[in-house]
Point group: C2
Chain length 96, copies 2
């Protein structure tokens, strides 16, 4: 729970999570890739952040259980962990 709030306390990371709701909104994204997610470089371009920063931020979102990473070849694709996000929202409602 602590990791979730820490991850979401940064605007860029919140933004990434929202962007990933619409993988097709990333330029060049193929319909076949929607299931697996969006690669780091595409997210980086959109965020306007450095490569290392983007990689770290995505790692934080992953540790918080908000996204899932899948390595395929030299690319790492990130997508939302919808089931876990829904669970977290319910917990939020219960706790607060």
């Amino acid at each position: 729970m602590l990791t979730v709030f820490r991850a979401l306390s940064n605007p860029a990371r919140r933004q990434m999570l929202v962007w990933l709701k619409e993988p097709m909104s990333f330029p060049g994204q193929e319909p076949d890739d929607v299931e697996i997610g969006v690669c780091v470089t595409d997210i980086q371009r959109r965020a306007g952040l450095g490569q290392s920063t983007t990689s770290q931020y995505l790692a934080m979102l992953r540790q918080a259980g908000l996204v899932v990473a899948t390595r395929r070849g030299k690319w790492t694709y990130y997508r939302r962990d919808e089931a876990n996000i829904a669970r977290l929202l319910e917990t939020l409602r219960d706790v607060f």
Copy 2:
């Protein structure tokens, strides 16, 4: 929205918000005071933090729209802003 996440990214502040769900759980709290909230000193004692820290943290929660402050005499009473909290939870569900 930014202020909300920043406020909740701290465990002590999250704790305060949860504690305020049960004003009567604070020692010495009178039934008549439940409506108006809990005073800073009582919250401070429970949190085990310094007086200035407690005051600042409550101010942050207030700026985030999570609690409401009422000054009565030399005391300031804090209580949850339930209506706004409910609204925020709905927004959360929409955005994430």
